[in-house]
Symmetry: C2
Subunit: 127 residues, 2 copies
Amino acid sequence: MVKYSRQREGILRNLQSRRDHPTADMIYDSVRKEYPNISLGTVYRNLTFLTETGQILKISTQMGADRYDGFIKPHNHFICRECGMVEDMEYISCDEMILQASGLFPGLIEDCELQFFGKCKNCLSGQ
Amino acid sequence: MVKYSRQREGILRNLQSRRDHPTADMIYDSVRKEYPNISLGTVYRNLTFLTETGQILKISTQMGADRYDGFIKPHNHFICRECGMVEDMEYISCDEMILQASGLFPGLIEDCELQFFGKCKNCLSGQ
DNA sequence: TCAATAATAGTAATCGTTACTATTATTAAA
DNA sequence: TTTAATAATAGTAACGATTACTATTATTGA
């Protein structure tokens, strides 16, 4: 049985109000302004809960800590290999690819993830 | 200046001889049979080197430790959400998608990664 | 054969995350 | 309302994966 918590709501609202794909730690710093006593464990626990209930997205960038995204309309991400910045990109559907792959694979393919890597505008222009 | 090391060669050969996408720790256990004194740090250092020089691939599965792959012909991966198994899949090119995306994005897209998630045959059949 | 230095083994430290526990907050029912 | 059950919390400890450090060993070009 799930009970309401103002901390959880604060975390969700914080994440929905920004588009910078923060880490758990960045969210912690930010939410702490509203709830000075909130603990990092609470942030992690709720990020996991919100991810599992589909209210937010978790992004693994293979560089440093996981990122979170309050914008859940399907879209892709660009990850800068130099500064680690994560930016939204227009959605390119994986549906045909899943279909294509499912015929060849002895298992259940539920979804796929498409991430783009490269250098962002800032890093290209030498900082 | 890069100097030869038998440990590095052992790690590379070990990785090339298997298709199970092992973690650094699994490689360590395995290579230790040939080099009983090899240290985990040496394994990590060389895995990083081999990845950066394009001799192996590093796979982030967003579940547990990173996996490594000695098979570098372009291909995709299926990751089982239940047991974490990583399996090779036929390559589906991202080239058109990179092209498509590049026109819309103010940065340099170098490559993209496509991973499939779901349940493997074993986990589907209830173990 | 030697000198320069890259790579190592072993260990400590770090980072991101999860687990634990006593306390507090929420909620459904009396 | 009060109360009782228990979910969620704060604070902290523990954990797993990875990196950093340092004295020693191995490789290599001269």
